[in-house]
């Protein structure tokens, strides 16, 4: 079982999510570049996964029975690095090396360099197919582990996502639980202006998925959704997490320009004040 103390304590998880946000902002400010908005919007979901829901062992990243996590929206690497570090996969001081030469913390996650990263991502649209393959392999081996996969909402414009949507439903991959970080923004603007996505929930439902629509910053709702997904048999689950890009820092929230911009030292100071 998990070596990370799994918790259903909402207050603890809320506090942990705050710590995750603080670490994300610090490492991004230190790096001087990187993806702020999408790391913050998915922070609550990833916190619940790593510190409550997932069975995993930082001392044995290759543990066969671990639950798997695929960050399909690989640009949220700072979020992944933070939850891995806080779980104990590597020393927290490594977070300061983000995006620097020689660091295992590449601009986008690299599984060859960093234990705990299941697979390299960064080119959007590919993660769900990989999650499906892992889910199939686990079923073949009679292993009960679950496979979690976070996608961006803009990311679901990629055709491969919908190919994977069909595969997961066709093969009844009920050990797959995907999450859309539905923050409504991509790079060139609001998703509804660039390439409309709605109705998102209805689309996944029509593709044969069990769909759960939640507030993606409500820890209790996130926990409840993961519990519900575990009980669903014969279908994959899609959690549509309604989120705010840049969540937790008032001056980043809902701002498209903070997709790929790191906080300046002055912004970091103000952001930390808000969070602490």
């Amino acid at each position: 079982m998990s070596q990370v103390s799994a918790s259903n304590d909402i207050a603890f998880l809320r506090e942990q999510a705050k710590t995750v946000r603080i670490e994300i902002l610090k490492m991004l400010a230190e790096a001087g570049s990187g993806h702020t908005g999408g790391s913050l919007s998915a922070a609550d979901v990833a916190t619940v996964l790593y510190f409550s829901k997932m069975r995993h062992n930082p001392k044995d990243p290759a543990w066969k029975e671990r639950d798997r996590f695929i960050l399909s929206k690989g640009h949220a690497a700072p979020l992944l690095y933070t939850v891995l570090a806080l779980s104990g996969y590597f020393d927290r001081s490594l977070l300061n090396t983000l995006r620097k030469i020689g660091s295992p913390l590449q601009g986008h996650p690299c599984s060859k360099l960093l234990p705990g990263v299941e697979i390299s991502t960064g080119s959007l649209g590919q993660g769900l197919s990989i999650a499906n393959g892992i889910a199939m392999g686990l079923k073949m081996d009679g292993i009960n582990s679950r496979v979690y996969c976070i996608l961006g909402d803009g990311e679901t414009q990629e055709g491969q996502v919908w190919e994977a949507a069909m595969t997961a439903a066709h093969y009844r991959l009920d050990n797959v639980c995907a999450i859309i970080d539905n923050n409504g923004l991509q790079i060139d603007g609001h998703c509804c202006d660039v390439m409309a996505l709605e109705p998102i929930a209805e689309k996944w439902d029509a593709f044969g998925w069990h769909v759960i629509d939640i507030d993606g910053h409500d820890i209790k709702a996130i926990l409840g959704a993961f519990d519900e997904a575990e009980g669903i048999k014969g279908k994959p689950t899609m959690i549509v997490a309604r989120t705010v890009k840049g969540k937790g820092v008032s001056f980043f929230e809902g701002k498209v320009q903070y997709h790929g911009m790191a906080p300046t030292s002055e912004e970091l100071e103000r952001a930390l004040k808000e969070l602490e």
Partner: protein, 311 residues
Amino acid sequence: MGERIATRDAYGDALLELGKKRKEVVVLDADLSGSTKTAKFAKVFPERFYNIGISEQDLIGTASGLSLTGKLPFASTFAVFETGRAWEQIRQTISYSSLNVKLVATHSGITVAEDGASHQAIEDIALMRVLPNMTVIVPADGIETKQVIEAIADFYGPVYVRLGRSKVPVVMPDDYKFTIGKAYKFHIGKDANIIAAGIMVSVSLDAMEMLKKEGIDAGVINMPTVKPLDNDAVVEAAKASGLIVTAEEHSVIGGLGGAVCEFLAENYPVPIKRIGIKDTFGCSGPSDELMKLYELTADDIVRTVKQGLKR
């Protein structure tokens, strides 16, 4: 000289000018219009701009369809996604039927920098060069980029243009006139000749000056059109000196170095050294540090020339 312009910025300006002159020009992007600089065109000509969203395969197919109605589509995104994700759409539709689609990709090579290997296209020239009917162009600077955009608009057929993210020194003369398939000879050397493309042209010019100080007469040839290669210029350079060095911000496999080697091996064999990324992925870091790490600096060219000359 001394001025630095990113080729993607020159593209944004050139595309806007072209749009004013020719109303059949349409521009497509895949959620990166701010980065590829097609946003400049989009702002002035919203009715001729299509953001396809994060779906590069659809981007290429849509551009193909537009060309079938007589439009002149420019489709842009990052090089790794344009040539990688949509390679088969480019092959089956654009290249096979020789459609008049202009594929202009930015963020090529390791100078993409901190985003790391997933975003650094080091194989795009190879992927495009292998396709029949495809013309492949790698501009050296802002001046050349502007010229290239005008020239490919007047040329009927598929073209791939490789642009960069970072600012690069202006090296081409103000009165330079680009012609598809023609190299620009800065100097033909008697000891060695460096055939370069893209940002490696300015690096090669620095190396030329350094070598001169050591009494080595090395020439520099800018080879913007990697396909079709300027065979005459390559032979002239090979005849003038006993050594050819190629330089590109791309894998040593399949790019400019590959093209020059293939041609010379069959037609005028001389010793060749290839400077480029040595069959490995890039990584995150500042672009100038990456240029050092991957041995793409003037010092590296000087060292390679001397090795080739056994000096």
